[in-house]
Symmetry: C2
Subunit: 235 residues, 2 copies
C-alpha cells in the first residue's frame, strides 16, 4: 500500500491458464474456423506471445483435443442424464437423445466433427461409447453382441459427424443451408442418367430432407437391426 492509486490492471493482467487458453481456442474455432486457430492469433487474443501458450499446453494437438473435450463434455453433462420429465425413457430414446446431443454439438461447432472423426480413441468419444454401450445393454442385447452393436452406432455417428463438418466448411458462413442443399440437389438431378441413375432418382429426397430427422432415421434403422439380431441370437 504505497502512496498511489490502487487501480488494478486486473483485466489485462489476469494470468494465463490452461482454461483461459482452451476457452479462447474454442471461441476462435467457432468464429474463424479450423484454419483460423493459430498460435499467433490465439496469443494476440490473449495479449501475449506465442511462446507463452506452450507453458500451459504441449502443442496444437493437445489444444485441439482439449477444446473438443470441453464441448463434448458439456453436451454429455446436459442431455444424457435422466430425461428430465419424470418418466423413464426407453433405451431407444436414450440412444436417440445421446446421438442427437453429439449431432447438435457438431451443428454448433463444426470443427468438433472433424476432430471427433479423427480422434475416436480420446476421452470425448470414449464417453460417448460408454453411454451408448450402457443403453445397448439395457436394450437386452446379449453380451457377445454388445461391442459390435455399440461400435456400429458410434461409427455411424462419426460418419455423419465428419460429413456435417465438411458441409459446414464448404458452405461459406453467409450462405443459407437450404440454398446449399438446393444447389447440390440440382447438381444431382443433372448427372449422367446412365452412370448416376440412382443418385438422380433421389435428388428430390436430398432436397426435401431435414438433417436432424434424416440422422435420427438412420439411428432407428440401426436400432431395428440391433433388435432383430437380439431376437435371432438371444434366448
Amino acid at each position: 500500500m504505497t502512496a498511489g492509486r490502487t487501480c488494478r490492471p486486473e483485466r489485462r493482467r489476469e494470468p494465463l491458464s490452461r482454461e483461459r487458453i482452451v476457452a479462447a481456442a474454442v471461441e476462435l474455432l467457432d468464429t474463424v474456423g479450423e484454419g483460423g486457430l493459430t498460435f499467433r492469433a490465439l496469443a494476440e487474443r490473449l495479449s501475449t506471445g506465442p511462446g507463452a501458450i506452450y507453458w500451459h499446453v504441449t502443442g496444437k494437438a493437445e489444444l485441439l483435443a482439449a477444446a473438443t473435450d470441453a464441448v463434448v463434455t458439456a453436451t454429455l453433462a446436459d442431455g444424457t442424464g435422466e430425461g428430465g420429465d419424470g418418466g423413464d425413457p426407453t433405451p431407444q430414446d436414450a440412444i436417440r437423445a445421446l446421438a442427437l446431443g453429439v449431432f447438435d454439438a457438431i451443428d454448433h461447432h463444426p470443427w468438433v466433427g472433424t476432430q471427433l472423426a479423427r480422434a475416436p480413441w480420446q476421452t470425448p468419444m470414449m464417453r460417448v461409447f460408454e453411454h451408448t454401450g450402457r443403453q445397448v445393454q439395457a436394450l437386452g442385447v446379449p453380451e457377445a453382441a454388445r461391442f459390435t452393436a455399440a461400435s456400429v452406432l458410434l461409427n455411424y455417428v462419426l460418419g455423419v459427424a465428419g460429413q456435417n463438418a465438411e458441409n459446414a466448411r464448404s458452405a461459406p458462413p453467409g450462405t443459407d443451408r437450404t440454398e446449399f442443399v438446393d444447389a447440390a440437389a440440382s447438381q444431382w438431378a443433372e448427372l449422367d442418367p446412365e452412370e448416376y441413375a440412382f443418385t438422380r432418382s433421389v435428388a428430390g429426397q436430398l432436397r426435401r430432407h431435414d438433417d436432424r430427422e434424416e440422422f435420427l432415421a438412420g439411428i432407428d434403422i440401426i436400432l431395428a437391426g440391433i433388435t432383430a439380431g437380439r431376437e435371432r441370437a438371444g434366448s
Copy 2:
C-alpha cells in the same frame, strides 16, 4: 515393381503430366503418410521445381482429391462388377462386397480414409453412393426410404473409414496391429470401474475382434434394419 537402383535417364526426360504427378503423390502418401505429401518432396521425386506442378494441378486440394479418386476408382472397377464366379449375387452380397472394397482400399492406403471422410461430395464417394443405392433398390426398399437407407450405409462406411485411417496413423509403421489392439484393450480393462463399466466389460471383445469381420457385422446389422423397415413400410 519399384524401379531398382538402375538409374534410368529416360525417367527424367519423360515430360511432367497430371497423371505422373498423381501417381507420384499416391506413392508418397503410401510410403510417408499424409504429412509427407509436400510440393517440395513431390518435386524432388519428379526431379523438378515445386512451381512446375502448378502447371498441371491447381493446388494441394485438387492433388489430394485426384489421388483419392485414382485409388477408389480402381477399387470400384475391380470388385463390384458381377461377382466373378457366375452366380448372381444377392443385393446383400453386392453391398457387402462394395463396402469391403472401400474398407480394403483404406486398409492399404489409410490416407484415403481421411480424405473420403472429409470430402463426401466428391466423385469417389458419389460413385460409392450410386452403387450402394442401386443395390438398396434391388433389395426392394420402397422409393421413399431409399435415400435414407443408402445414406446410413454410406455414413457408416465413412465413420469406419475415418477411424481406420486414424488407427493406422497413430500406430507407427513398424508396430504390429495385434500389439496395438492388445495395448488398447489393456487400457480399457484398467479404466475406472464405475465411470467406464461398459467399456471395461467389452475390453475382451475389443482384443479378440477382427477388423474386417467387425466391419461386416456392422453392415449386416444395418442391412437387417433396412429390411425390417422394408417389411413395415412396403406392401
